[in-house]
Subunit: 189 residues, 2 copies
DNA sequence: TAAGATGTACACCGATCGGTGTATATCCCC
DNA sequence: GGGGATATACACCGATCGGTGTACATCTTA
């Protein structure tokens, strides 16, 4: 009976972060109060304020944790050549957008809702977006594309546009892959 | 002394809508309460609820009014050929994004913050985005582009991506015009 | 000038906001 | 087994939330 309990035994901090990710994605940041957040995370309000200085810090921490998962999920290296890995990012995004519970890129959502660029969560969102572009630039350089930095910015435009499309219209983004391939081809890749 | 008063004599409804546009753009929809909205619009709270059924309807009305202005501002016809008019849309967007008070596309902002696609304001935002794509498709068809509908969707991706870039990073979107020109060229335009 | 519509001023409602104070329970480690 | 850290329960704070009730002022129009 040693390995009987499959419960992962997560602490209050993790529970708050995962719950925050779920609730903020589904309903928005401002419309979820700390009371409800604590209730759904099964964490006392007092504990929240022992781990975080305030709601803003919870938001930033949730977004920061999401950045890692997001990154790992989209940019997973499958041993494919660089071009295929670029394509795969957009295929995975399209696949996510098909899910009915897709609520758009959480970083765009946070930045759009918070407005204030000095908000800790906005800073995290900003960095994540820079990271996405940098990752594109890396892959493109590996693949021998011309002007990889410029092309990486253009692919980021497509990526964000597709995320917005997903949250506004729901469903897949059929024009995305074509645009990506056109841009890649125009840069010799 | 007939034309002495330059005051436009706006009614409570117009004042509420223009104030809502300004405040929602600057601080977000959920973070502006009806009390403050009424105070800044110099309209009594009672009047608000005589013109609108609730805050949600104010949001939708503000967005609806903004759709017309937005459309007129971006898609103004200067007697240019279709291709130049497409380019001009992105040049105007870039020009707006350079302004320090640029707060991103209000329709993307509303959809991102509200989440609920059934919200009246989300419906307005959705329609506006369809209108943008339709306008692109019209210009592209006039210009003789191949697959104008597909290309219009791709240009909308770029447009929304550039709007997001503007609100997240601030400043211009240098890669935008190049991507547009590449896509246009790939479709024979 | 009387009447009805429109607008304002202001108090009020229950609910929720983000955040704190206090006292008790549970855990791990020495 | 005792002690400190960690967590919980719960009451409480002033402020604000969206929305309403009521009484008075102003404007238009017949």
């Amino acid at each position: 009976m040693a390995t009987a309990a499959p419960v992962v035994k997560t602490g209050p901090r993790e529970r708050l972060i995962t719950t925050a990710q779920r609730l903020f994605a589904a309903e928005g940041i401002r419309s979820v109060g700390v009371d409800r957040l604590c209730a759904e995370a099964k964490v006392s309000k007092r504990s929240l304020y022992q781990h975080f200085s305030g709601k803003d810090e919870v938001v930033a921490a949730a977004l920061h944790a999401q950045a890692d998962q997001h990154y790992l999920g989209l940019h997973r290296d499958d041993g494919l050549p660089p071009r295929d890995r670029v394509i795969a990012v957009f295929e995975r995004l399209d696949h996510r957008a098909r899910s009915p519970e897709f609520q758009g890129c959480p970083f765009i959502g946070a930045a759009s809702e918070l407005k204030d660029r000095a908000h800790p969560a906005s800073v995290v969102a900003h960095e994540q977006k820079l990271g996405l572009t940098a990752h594109f630039a890396d892959l493109l350089a590996q693949g021998g594309a011309r002007e990889p930095d410029l092309l990486a910015q253009q692919l980021t435009l497509i990526f964000d546009g597709a995320s917005v499309h997903g949250v506004m219209h729901g469903g897949a983004t059929p024009a995305t892959l074509g645009a990506v391939e056109t841009l890649l081809a125009a840069h010799g890749m």
